[in-house]
Symmetry: C2
Subunit: 269 residues, 2 copies
């Protein structure tokens, strides 16, 4: 099996493309998976699923659930309800994984917000189990701790998965988010049997921005191959998602982008 | 003793001010310490020392040594020589601490670069011991891993201090760099007896930029009091440096800035 058989194109790598364009371009380039985002499915997961599967593609994951912390109890209940809808949508797409981005502290202390994340995951876990969907707990880079995710290390994600103790509670390892961590190799091994996804992009120097700073594989300093081999050695053989938030990449209007991704994927991942 | 008796004004919080202005304004505002930067001493540490001490101020630390990793052996030797000069300058200033910023990987792998940091510290440690200067190993936020510091967690800094096993090898805890870390409370306690400094600023939401994004205490989400109390509880009773890199703060031309810092220091630290 070639590594390219594991390539998944994340929709957000080409934000301006419609779902139809993503599906058509990936099919033409023989990219077997796409990673879907809820806000880019035209409000109809069943229809999106038919479109994707009609071209012979599979969905590696759906992004995203999570975002559990909220200032009021009512809003927190709404977040739980939204996570339940996300699980249903993942099931409709036949996506094995729902990506969980935990959300920021939102006025709580970090300790309280982190407890809220565990509570929220525990509350929706039975729904995920019933639907056959894995909650993929993704630690984000610590520079997103204030705005997006109080879960910032793979150790934390592993701890959460361990506490939840279910085949439907696993972790996602995104190279951009974890590469800096002195404990990352240890924690990848610790995640054995609980790895629900591996994401790649690169960290350019200098980093042009916090949200849109990611680079094409090979255009940065992340030791991608070392990380991929560690994830493989820990037993993961599933799809590898290419997820690049980058304004320049977003200017790409045709599938030249996909050929470049395939080339860099072979060379650097 | 009032908390204000521990306040140290970091020169870089008012980058446009000359050393003379910093010293005069701090003395007028009864701020007992300043934290000095090598490039802002007019090339003459003895003279700067006389100026600072002439106004009754003390230097809490000198920034910075470190930056050990380099592409060639010759450059690496030059870095070591520069660290020795920095130790001498700290001694001339009667600064008890030289702040160590480890530097980026600079083309090495992360593992190799981290080994280079330990080697470099071990090489200059006897000079620090002889001079009575503490090397304060400061972990930087992981968003600086690629450009400034391969030491990114307090755990790493504690591990380095432990390996070096000398009263002249300690750690510095900067709230901006460590607040996100789920292990920070544990590692602060672990640093007991080895804490060479505590720095404060704040993390605004949204963060306006990677380098110049720091905010005045109280204008962000860091649980500063909790961190300060933990550092105190771990036995640290030395100066607390206010270090804010922020373009708007740099526009302050008078000591209104110092009054604000004192007020926020009392209120939030």
């Amino acid at each position: 099996m070639s590594l390219l058989d594991r390539l998944s194109f994340n929709q957000m790598t080409a934000d301006p493309w419609s779902l139809e364009e993503v599906v058509r371009n990936c099919a033409k380039s023989r990219i077997p998976y796409i990673a879907a985002w809820r806000h880019k499915l035209g409000g109809d997961a069943a229809n999106a699923s038919a479109l994707i599967r009609g071209e012979g593609l599979r969905v590696s994951s759906l992004c995203r659930g999570g975002w559990f912390s909220a200032p009021t109890a009512e809003e927190r209940r709404e977040r739980i309800a939204d996570n339940r809808r996300a699980i249903e949508e993942a099931a409709l797409l036949d996506a094995p994984v729902l990506v969980i981005v935990s959300g920021p502290a939102n006025g709580q202390t970090l300790d309280d917000a982190r407890a809220t994340v565990l509570d929220g995951l525990a509350e929706v876990l039975p729904d995920a189990e019933k639907a056959g969907v894995v909650l993929g707990i993704e630690p984000l880079h610590p520079m997103y701790a204030a705005e997006r995710s109080v879960v910032v290390t793979l150790k934390q994600a592993n701890d959460l998965a361990q506490q939840l103790s279910s085949p439907s509670a696993q972790v996602i390892i995104d190279a951009f988010h974890v590469w800096w961590d002195p404990d990352v190799m240890h924690e990848i091994e610790r995640a054995r049997g609980k790895i629900a996804g591996f994401h790649v992009s690169d960290w350019p120097v200098p980093l042009p921005g916090i949200l849109m700073g990611r680079a094409m594989m090979g255009d940065g300093v992340i030791e991608l191959r070392k990380l991929r081999q560690a994830v493989d050695a820990a037993g993961y053989d599933g799809p590898i998602e290419v997820e690049i938030f980058n304004d320049a990449v977003w200017q790409s209007r045709d599938d030249g982008l996909l050929a470049l991704i395939q080339q860099r994927f072979i060379e650097y991942v």
